[in-house]
Each structure stands twice: as structure tokens, then as C-alpha cells.
Amino acid sequence: MEPVMAVAIGLLYAAAIFLMLRRSIVKLVIGLMLLSNAANLLIFTSAGMTRGAPPLIPEGLAAPLGPVADPLPQAVVLTAIVIAFGVLAFAVVLIRRAYEIVKADDLDKMKETDT
């Protein structure tokens, strides 16, 4: 499965970078979302993908019976998902506010500090 995921992650990155290079600030934020998702998948995939073996320990045992998926990247990605959401919420409100002041969706018009 990993080669397929590698291609998918590459495409996600490409889409994200393309969006972030746009002048529209909304596209920048959408690009940022894609980028954080792509990065999460990158971490998740590089640890290797396992089917049907979640890192849970059955009741009554001290350790899982067989090999399980690596829990560490999962924990890292979980943190990252939540942080990315925090960043997104902040960014979305920020562009909303910036638009109220600059009256434009164009990043080039936000270049001057005294607008």
C-alpha cells in the first residue's frame, strides 16, 4: 500500500503548494489545510501501514497478542491534526478580519503595512 500512498501524498503536496502560491488569501488558507493533511499522512505512512491491528491491549492482558501498528506516529499525528485545526480556525478568522479592513482578497494588496 505504501507506494500508492507515496504517490497520493506527493499529489497532495503538489496541490497544496500550487494553492499556496496563488494570490488569493482564501486559496492560501485552503493550501495550508492540504499541506497539513499531507504532512500528517507523510508521518503516518513512513512508519509503515498495518491493516487491522490497532494499538490496543485486550482486557486481561499485559501486552497485545500479536504485532500491532506503531502507536507513536499515531500519537504524533493526533497532536498534529488538532494543532492544524487550531491554526486553521485562527487563519480563517484572520483573513475574514483582514478582508474587512483591506477590502480585498488579493495578497498583493496587503503588502503595504499602512493599509
Binding site: 500500500m1 505504501e2 507506494p3 500508492v4 504517490v7 497520493a8 501524498i9 506527493g10 499529489l11 503536496y13 503538489a14 496541490a15 497544496a16 503548494i17 499556496m20 502560491l21 496563488r22 494570490r23 488569493s24 482564501v26 486559496k27 492560501l28 485552503i30 489545510m33 492540504l34 500528517n40 499522512l41 503516518f44 498495518t50 487491522g52 490497532p54 494499538p55 490496543l56 491491549i57 482486557e59 492482558l61 501486552a63 497485545p64 501498528a69 502507536p71 507513536l72 500519537a75 497532536t79 491534526i81 488538532v82 494543532i83 487550531g86 480556525a89 485562527f90 478568522v93 483573513i95 475574514r96 478580519r97 478582508y99 474587512e100 479592513i101 482578497d105 495578497l107 498583493d108 503588502k111
Partner: protein
């Protein structure tokens, strides 16, 4: 504890404002007790050091990096430490009179005491890194002192110049010290002192020597870095007397002397030091006689002295090193005194121009006497201590190996020019007809006379009874520089020999120069255009080009266009990752495809969502396709054994879509802002990143650099952390601090969101504040 005693000076400096509140104008005298006490402490070490003992106060700092705060006191350190503390005491007392009633006296005290401690640390430190730290501290404090009159443009400019030159050299010094530590395998100066044979043969010898010498030459104002020192005379005179004649500028000299046993004696060392030193010596003396400003005259003669010291280290014979320590002591004594005299003249007459003064002898008899004594020592006339130093200097020049005649010629010229300078400084203001000065002169207060008088009398005393200096301090110091025991026996009378004849001839020439000074100066004025193109113009051009280049690169790189910044970052990323991925590890892609149909469907949905979001022109489609991508990612997580991730992703994705729908539809529709060409360019760049990341994932997948720590976490999840969901256990137990940080980030984001929404609310109710807000935005 020596470290505690010395470093407590920093605390004292910090408390100077408080002392000012308690003691008012008397603070200088209270503060002077600190160096005086230290001087007594150092004196008490004298018997031990004289016996050839090396006193060590070991304190570890960062042992793992070989950094220590150890202080090592041998003859050389002791000589310097005594000079710093004794002259420091007098300078503080002197400053109490000189800067009496100055509104910034507190600041002066803070920086001067801090400087004193830094300088002491520099000469006592055993660790290379510690030495470097103190070295830089002296540069910084010196900068603050040169720029003390910060309202004056010239002072600021000179301070900056001094800082740039010495700190620039400091960078080279750091590189040199690191190479020295690497080559010698030790970071202790004391240990490096014993491994000269290894160091001199080491491959790094040439680069490390050049770097170290760059540091020493800039600090000690050797040609072509000499120009900052005369400009540093913008500092108040007590500072000039202390830093720019007796102590700081000798830091470079100290370093070279300290390294003489480890690095000295090679052809390179002898060649560079003796030629640069001799040339600096001549340049200093020659440039001095062009000036009528008494501080500049003395500053250039200081350059002369620093050149002499460097040259003597370069010659490096036993005689030369004895001459070195003798000259060092003699110079510190007379130059400190002369600078303080210059300050008295400036303070009492209101001018620094020696041609504007005359006949002050009867008004200021004590000052005149002190000036005469110190100047006799500067000129090297018996029975002053300076005479002994000069005789020794000539003797060692005559026994120099390489470049003997060149050095002798330069030394002889410098000697007679210096005699001229000494005569100008000591005779011109005090003899001849009385001239009207901006202020009516009268004798200086005792506080200002004490320092120069003691130093001048010491010059006389050591000249008459040289055994006082030679049997103790100088023997120990010369032995430390030599690296093996040396016996110093100084005497005033060496019999009629070549050095004496040279002295006599230079004396006669110096006298002629003094008589004809005004005419010589007028002639030399014709050289001004040539001198204006000297090294200082190089510095000015350098500073000019720094501004030009930074202006240019700021306009190119910091142009305020977001996408340009991003483009730079992305291209850098492509270059760096691409370079190491393709060139260093040729990617080995292990293909073993194990795919199920439903997985491919989910991943395809995900990719299509992302790609469609990138090209659509409709805001709604963008949000919907981002949503599709997000939910497909959640499914992927669930399919591949990460239920927690799946749940979180579902939750977050739902919230995201709601948020985007709520906010984005208050924004305008997407417009086509870029040209087709730009889109093609961005498409290519983005494509490159995509390919690179795919290759990266494929390569990284097969590589296991380290044993994963997950095994430990899985094993101990139940036994130690009492949790059955290992991902949760990691979040709340093993990596609980990370999660705490995450919560902080979320809380901050929430506060930010609320703040921005609230701001909008108040704006609507109060339209007047809108204008202000928009200027802030």
C-alpha cells in the same frame, strides 16, 4: 575563591547606581577600593609566582565541552593583573575628579568596572572559550566607553568603528581558538603551552595562526587595523588612559605572549610578527607627529608601543622577551601617566591642542613635573625605566635573525620620532611664553594628580632601582612568555655599546625634530591625500558597501510579496532535499505492491478532492472537495489501524467544513489574479515538490535508522501506565508535556479568534474607532 572575587565586580557594577545614591560624588573613591583590594590580593600571590609556581583556581563550567572557568596565574597573568588593578584604581580616582558632576557618571562607573572585570578575566582565564567570552566583553564595554558622549556624532562613529574592527577580529579569533583547541586536543591554555612541538608541526598551524593573529592585531591596533585606536580617543580621557593605552589594546599583545611558547619560533611567526610589528611601530610614530591634538599624539605613540611589543615577540629570543616584559611595564606606567596629564591639561585649559598651550609650568607645577618624568620615560632617557626598556629593545633588534636591517631602520626611525613626540607633549604646553587658553588654567585637584604622579614616580623608581622589577615580577613574566625559566637582570648602565650610541643619535635627531616641528608638520601636510587613502578609507568603503548590498538584497528578498517568500522557501526545499535524496542516497525503491480495491477507491477520492480544490473557481466546490479529501483521510486512518486518528480527523473535518462555510461566504468570489504563465510556473514548481515528496516517502519507508522506541511504550502501557489504548497512553502519560503544549496552542488560538471577533463587534458600535484600527491593521 579568585573567581568569586574577580567576578563580584560585575555585581559591584550593577550596584553602582545604588552606591551613587549613598555616596554621591565620592562613589569613584568607593569603587576604587575594589581594584585596590584585588591588587593587594594579587600582590600576596607574588612570592609564590616568583618561585616559579603557577597558581591555579580550578572551576568547572561545562566539563563535557571542555569549558572551564579555571583561572591560572603565572608571571605573565600576574603582571597584567597587577597593571589592570593598580592603574584601574588610579583611573577610578582620577575619573572622580575628571568627570565630577557629569550627569552620566553612574553609567561611566558601571561600564568601567565591568570592563575592568572583563579584562581581568581575559588575562586570568585558562580555558580558550572563557578567554574568548571575556575578550568579547572587553570589546563591548570598550564600545560603550568610546561612545560615552553619545550625543556626539563623532563619538558614536568612532565607537562603532572600534567595535566593528575588534569584533570582526574577534570572529577570526574564535575560529583560530577552535582550531587551536582541535589541533592541540585541549582547551586549556596551560596545557597547550606545553605542547608547542605538536602544534608547530600540525597541519592546521598556518590557518590557526593567521586567524589568531587577525584577532590579536585588530585588538592591539597593528597595521593595517591601527586606525580605530586614535579615533577611540573620542572617549573621556580616563578611558583613553586605561583602555586605549594600558589595558585593552594590550589584550592582543597578551594573547600573542601567552601563545609564544605554543606557537612561537616558527619562520611564519617570526616573519609576520616582527615585520608587522616593526612597520606598525614606525607608522604609529610617524603619524603621531602630524597631529597637534595631545590625545592623538599619545594615541599614535601607543600604536608605536604596541608595534614594538609585537615586534619583540616576533624576534622571540630570550633577550627580546625580556625586553618585551620590560617595555610592557614601562609603557603602561608612562602612558597611563601621560594620558592622565593630557586629561588634566584638557580639563584645566579647555583645549587639547598643544600648539594652543604654553607656559603652563608656573600655573601647574606638579602636572608639569609629572609630565616631564613620564615623557622622559617615553623618550627613553636615563634614569627613567623607559630607558632600560629602550636599550633592551635595541639590543634585541640587533640580535634579530630575519629582516634585521629593515627592523633596525624602522626601530631607529620610530625611536627618534618618539623622542620628538615626548618632547612636544612634555615641553610645548609647559614652557615658552604663556598663551591664553579657553579656560584659565590652575593646578588640578589631588584626585586627578594622584594617579599620574604615582605612575611617574614608579617609572623613576624602577629606573633607579631596576632590581625591584626584575627580580620578582619581570623574571616570572619573562619565564612565562619564554616557556622556560629565564633570569632577568636589569641595569641602567650597560656600558658604551651600539644601543647606547643609537639612543644618543636618536636623542639628537629627536631634539631637532622638536625644534623644527611646526615646519615638519607643514611639510607633512602635503602627504595628507596619501594618508587619507590609508586603511581607514578601506574600512569606510567596506561599511558603505555593506549598506548598499543590504539595501539591494532587502529589496530583492524582503519585497513584501508573500508568494515570493514562499517560492524561495519551496525552491530551497527542492534544492536541499533533491540534492541529498538524489545525489547522496540514490533512492532504492522497493516495490512490493499489496493493494485492495476499496483502499484504492478511498485514496483516489482523497487525491481527487485535493486536486479539484486546487483548480476549482467556485468557493463551494473548493470547500466540498476539501471535505471529501478530509473524510477520505479519516477512512484511510481507520482502514490502517488508527481508529483514534480516524475519529479525530472526522470530528475536525466536520468542524473545518462548517467553519469554512460560515466564513468563506462572507469573502468575495475567487477571481483570476495570475497570468497563465505564472500558473504554469507554479504548476511546475508544485509538481517538482510532489515528485520529490513521493520519492522521499518511498526512500524513507525502507530505512530504519534507529530502533523505534514504540516497543517500550507497548510493553509498559498496561504495567506502568495502566492504560489499554496505547495511543492515548502516549498522549496523556509518556508525552504528557507535549499534550499540555498542544492545549496551550489551542487555547491561544481560541483567544485569538475571540479577540478578533470581539474587535469587530466593538467597531460596529463605535465607527469612530474604525479609522484607528485600520491604521493598525
Amino acid at each position: 575563591m579568585m573567581q568569586l572575587a574577580v567576578l563580584s565586580g560585575f555585581v559591584l557594577a550593577a550596584f553602582a547606581p545604588l552606591l551613587h545614591r549613598w555616596f554621591g560624588a565620592g562613589t569613584s573613591f568607593v569603587l576604587a577600593a575594589f581594584p585596590a583590594a584585588l591588587a593587594l590580593g594579587f600582590l600576596s600571590l607574588m612570592p609564590a609566582v616568583m618561585d616559579g609556581e603557577v597558581v591555579t583556581y580550578a572551576v568547572e563550567w561545562v566539563p563535557s565541552l571542555g569549558m572551564s572557568l579555571t583561572f591560572v596565574i603565572d608571571g605573565l597573568s600576574l603582571l597584567f593583573a597587577l597593571l589592570i588593578t593598580v592603574i584601574g584604581t588610579f583611573v577610578l580616582i582620577y575619573a572622580g575628579g575628571y568627570l565630577k558632576g557629569h550627569p552620566d557618571l553612574v553609567r561611566f562607573h558601571i561600564v568601567l568596572v565591568a570592563f575592568m572585570v572583563s579584562m581581568l578575566g581575559l588575562v586570568l582565564a585558562d580555558g580558550l572559550i572563557t578567554l574568548f567570552v571575556f575578550w568579547e566583553l572587553t570589546s563591548i564595554t570598550s564600545y560603550l566607553l568610546i561612545g560615552f558622549n553619545h550625543a556626539d556624532l563623532e563619538a558614536r562613529k568612532s565607537a562603532r568603528q572600534g567595535l566593528f574592527v575588534t569584533v570582526g577580529g574577534g570572529l577570526a579569533l574564535m575560529a583560530g581558538l577552535v582550531m587551536l583547541g582541535t589541533a592541540g586536543g585541549s582547551w586549556s591554555l596551560a596545557e597547550l603551552g606545553t605542547m608547542g612541538d605538536v602544534l608547530r608541526e600540525h597541519d592546521l598551524y598556518a590557518p590557526l595562526l593567521i586567524c589568531l593573529l587577525l584577532g590579536a592585531f585588530t585588538k592591539s591596533a597593528q597595521f593595517p587595523f591601527h586606525f580605530w585606536l586614535p579615533n577611540a580617543m573620542a572617549a573621556p580621557t580616563p578611558v583613553s588612559a586605561y583602555l586605549h593605552s594600558a589595558t585593552m589594546v594590550k589584550a592582543g599583545i597578551y594573547l600573542m605572549a601567552r601563545l609564544q611558547p605554543s606557537l612561537g619560533g616558527t619562520e611564519m611567526w617570526i616573519g609576520i610578527l616582527s615585520v608587522v610589528g616593526a612597520f606598525t611601530m614606525f607608522t604609529g610614530a610617524f603619524l603621531a607627529i602630524r597631529h597637534t591634538n595631545i590625545k592623538k599624539l599619545l594615541a599614535y605613540s601607543t600604536i608605536m608601543a604596541l608595534g614594538t611589543l609585537t615586534m619583540l615577540l616576533g624576534i622571540g629570543t630570550e633577550g627580546a622577551l625580556i625586553a618585551f616584559v620590560t617595555f610592557l611595564l614601562a609603557h603602561s606606567l608612562y602612558k597611563g601617566a601621560l594620558f592622565m596629564v593630557a586629561g588634566i591639561l584638557d580639563h584645566e585649559t579647555g583645549t587639547k591642542d598643544v600648539t594652543a598651550m604654553g607656559g603652563l609650568r608656573s600655573l601647574m607645577p606638579v602636572t608639569a613635573l609629572v609630565a616631564m618624568l613620564a615623557a622622559l620615560s617615553l623618550a627613553g632617557i636615563p634614569p627613567l625605566f623607559g630607558f632600560i626598556a629602550k636599550e633592551l629593545m635595541f639590543e634585541s633588534v640587533l640580535e634579530a635573525g630575519a629582516f634585521r636591517w629593515l627592523i633596525l631602520l624602522l626601530a631607529f626611525s620610530a625611536a627618534f620620532l618618539t623622542i620628538g613626540v615626548a618632547a612636544i607633549v612634555a615641553l610645548r604646553p609647559f614652557f615658552g611664553e604663556r598663551r591664553a587658553t579657553p579656560r584659565v588654567a590652575h593646578e588640578a585637584p589631588v584626585s586627578m594628580l594622584l594617579g599620574p604622579a604615582v605612575l611617574a614616580v614608579l617609572s623613576l623608581l624602577l629606573g633607579l632601582v631596576p632590581v625591584l622589577a626584575s627580580m620578582g615580577l619581570l623574571t616570572a613574566a619573562a619565564s612565562a612568555v619564554m616557556g622556560e625559566p629565564v633570569t632577568v637582570s636589569l641595569s641602567l648602565w650597560h656600558g658604551v655599546n651600539l644601543p647606547l650610541i643609537l639612543s644618543l643619535v636618536s636623542l639628537a635627531l629627536g631634539y631637532v625634530l622638536f625644534r623644527q616641528w611646526d615646519r615638519v608638520r607643514a611639510r607633512l601636510a602635503r602627504l595628507d591625500p596619501l594618508i587619507a587613502r590609508g586603511p581607514e578609507s578601506g574600512y569606510d568603503a567596506f561599511m558603505h558597501w555593506i549598506t548598499v548590498v543590504s539595501d539591494w538584497q532587502t529589496r530583492i528578498l524582503q519585497n513584501g510579496y508573500m508568494r515570493n517568500y514562499l517560492m524561495v522557501m519551496v525552491l530551497t526545499l527542492i534544492a536541499l532535499i533533491g540534492n541529498s535524496l538524489l545525489l547522496r542516497h540514490s533512492p532504492e525503491i522497493a516495490f512490493h505492491l499489496d493493494v485492495r480495491f476499496h483502499e484504492v477507491v478511498v485514496v483516489s477520492l482523497m487525491v481527487m478532492g485535493a486536486l479539484f480544490a486546487a483548480i476549482t473557481r467556485s468557493r463551494l466546490s473548493a470547500v466540498v472537495s476539501v471535505g471529501i479529501m478530509g473524510f477520505s483521510i479519516a477512512l484511510t486512518f481507520i482502514l490502517f489501524s488508527a481508529p483514534d486518528l480516524g475519529i479525530t480527523q472526522l470530528l475536525v473535518e466536520t468542524l473545518t467544513v462548517i467553519l469554512l462555510v460560515l466564513v468563506l461566504f462572507r469573502l468575495p468570489r475567487f477571481a483570476t489574479l495570475s497570468t497563465p504563465l505564472e500558473r504554469v510556473r507554479d504548476f511546475l514548481v508544485a509538481g517538482c515538490v510532489g515528485v520529490l515528496i513521493t520519492l522521499l516517502v518511498l526512500t524513507a519507508w525502507g530505512i530504519d535508522q534507529f530502533v523505534p522506541i514504540s516497543g517500550y511504550m507497548i510493553e509498559n502501557s498496561v504495567t506502568l501506565a495502566h492504560g489499554r489504548n496505547i495511543v492515548n497512553v502516549i498522549l496523556v502519560d509518556y508525552r504528557a508535556l507535549d499534550t499540555l503544549g498542544e492545549i496551550f496552542v489551542l487555547a491561544l488560538a481560541a483567544i485569538g479568534v475571540i479577540a478578533m471577533l470581539k474587535l469587530r463587534a466593538t467597531e460596529k458600535s463605535k465607527p469612530a474607532s474604525k479609522e484607528k484600527e485600520s491604521t493598525d491593521g
